[in-house]
Symmetry: C2
Subunit: 343 residues, 2 copies
DNA sequence: GTTAGCACTCTCATCTTTTGAGTGCTAAAT
DNA sequence: ATTTAGCACTCAAAAGATGAGAGTGCTAAC
């Protein structure tokens, strides 16, 4: 459908535009001696490429700009594999000494990703509801307040403070903790409320006094919010892109960034592997002129999260794709090593 | 030094400019019948106010704009106390059921503050290093990895995962945890490394085998990062202000927002009470054309954090000051109630 | 002391001009 | 049958031109 020469020209045009952000014209192209053809020849080919929908003009007498179809073709066929050296070993470096904190690793990865690319990175923390309870602990801080701590088999720690109901003794707490540990160990987080309702409640009735009213309260206490956490890197990077030279554009971008639930939805859909969504391929209005690259990473026990990068459609796909591949693999590797599910 | 009429005019001008963001002229002012003087009279008074440094012109024939000195006078003398109703009870509402999480309260407070004002709010979490150790726990997740949990007397939970050194048995861990609890309970966080070095090390030598090399590692594990946490609300709000109609201005603002250490410094200086820094009174270049309001809040045990609000110098000081007062009081109240230091 | 009147100033929005890079098409060259 | 040179034409963006509007300062009258 496309001749070799057309492909070559398409590639050069896209490369050029990705770098310069300016419409590329035939004369300018033929001057740089990447292509051994005259301006007129290039012009003719450009006209054909435009007719086939790979290029566009911003106005009748402007140079050409890649269309979304053009980028799509470029991503699918014109970029070969490449290894982005700088990306290698980022994760490893963070956990050299054997001590690590999930949040910190992810946050640093997000920052590194954005720094290396100059785009905005978003990492979606793993969905936790399949993780299971490893241990529950309640620790009194004073005679009025206490803190409840829940550790999952994957090493995540959730905690919540609360005011102690009047008349609860420390032996009551001890009993409660025993019951909870007995019944909840190995139970996935999402089933906690159910188990408390069905099993813990009756046991509490049996062994403790006056607890009927507090069962709801305990259920609330141990109901984990399903909220997956988002980690951002380089939210300000996007402002360096010339396509963000417009205040309204910036406003709409940042307002989207604050609607975290929408972003979660945007990233959640991602299946295995790396996915590139160019411009209108995205469903969210605010990023229909941006490209979104998503890749998933896995931690033990089937849980996974998503790494994403958001930049102009005029994105350095070559660099970015290789980088995403490396980072998602390294994340998976690092996580899997420690969070192996032996509960 | 200033006549009553000048004060009155100054107040009206500032009020007007705060609302409209446009230089206010004598004709326009005299038309609104807030002031019973003719344009010419107002003009003369304006000239005097300008000479005294309370007003400025943006160009030779423009209306007047308050100078920083003008705002300073306005804040110090021209706004009376007022109670901002919407602000009342925000914190209480968050902890109705007796269950709460510090992070969530603070985050929600930041969001509420920014929503009510349309400026950007920043809350500095409390400095933790004076908090003392309540309990330490280590929980093995698999035979390679474990998670260490540290609870402070104020109910904060810190945790960190790590790879188990080879040849460490579960009884070793138990011993270690016992030693740590024995020696570290009641010790303030900032002294942990020191105590581990001086007291824990020798005990470990005595009761455990082959630990000499791992003492450093344990010290690292329990060294808390001093990093105080920042909570932002309404980072995008600032974009609605007409003074941010310039892309470079936005860039510099967001780039500052990403340099969290600088922001921490900016807020840390705050002593008791509410402090208003107008324009160049701020030391950080990027906000020399903004105003920063800071107020401190206290949780038990002498620890405190800072609430801040960042907006144009043309800020609704009246509203903002009353709101800040309310919120900082409520935060202090709520925190103190639970985090009472009974360790 | 206060105000009306007037000449003057400066911004902002709108319109016009110029310049430069680009295109399409036709005819000549390879 | 391609490829290329040449030429007329187009459009955006930058640079100037124009006029309206809101403001000021100053002087003289109230």
């Amino acid at each position: 459908m496309l001749t070799d020469r057309q492909l070559m020209i398409l590639q050069v045009i896209i490369d050029d535009f990705i770098e310069s952000a300016k419409p590329v014209g035939s004369r300018a192209l033929s001057k740089k001696d990447t292509l051994p053809y005259s301006a007129a020849t290039i012009r003719n080919e450009m006209a054909d490429l435009e007719e086939s929908g790979f290029l566009e003009k911003t106005h009748t007498s402007s140079g050409r700009v890649p269309s979304e179809k053009g980028y799509r073709y470029y991503v699918d066929h014109l970029i070969g594999p490449e290894i982005h050296q700088h990306g290698l070993g980022i994760i490893e470096r963070l956990t050299n000494n054997g001590i690590y904190e999930f949040e910190q690793i992810v946050q640093t990865a997000a920052e590194a990703l954005s720094k290396l690319t100059n785009y905005t990175s978003i990492i979606l923390g793993p969905e936790m509801f399949e993780a299971t309870v490893k241990q529950i602990q309640v620790l009194a801080l004073s005679d009025q307040s206490a803190v409840a701590i829940l550790v999952t088999n994957t090493g995540h720690v959730e905690h919540r403070s609360f005011t102690l109901p009047k008349g609860v003794s420390s032996s009551d707490i001890e009993k409660l903790v025993n019951i909870l540990n007995d019944r909840l160990q190995g139970v996935p987080l999402y089933r906690i409320p159910e188990v408390i309702q069905n099993e813990v409640a009756s046991l509490m009735m049996k062994y403790m006094n006056g607890v009927d009213s507090s069962i709801n309260w305990i259920r609330t206490l141990f109901t984990q919010e399903q909220a997956v956490k988002l980690y951002f890197g380089g939210k300000a990077n996007i402002l360096m892109q010339p396509e963000f030279n417009d205040v309204d554009r910036i406003r709409s971008f940042y307002s989207l960034m604050e609607r975290e639930d929408e972003i979660v939805n945007l990233l959640k859909n991602s299946n295995q592997g790396i996915k590139v969504s160019i411009g209108h391929e995205n469903e969210v209005e605010e990023i229909k002129d941006l490209s979104l690259i998503t890749a998933s990473y896995h931690i033990g026990g089937g849980q996974m999260g998503t790494i994403a990068l958001l930049g102009p459609t005029r994105m350095e796909y070559k660099k970015v794709l290789s980088l995403m591949e490396i980072i998602s693999k390294e994340m998976t590797g690092a996580m899997g090593k420690w969070y192996s599910d032996k509960s």
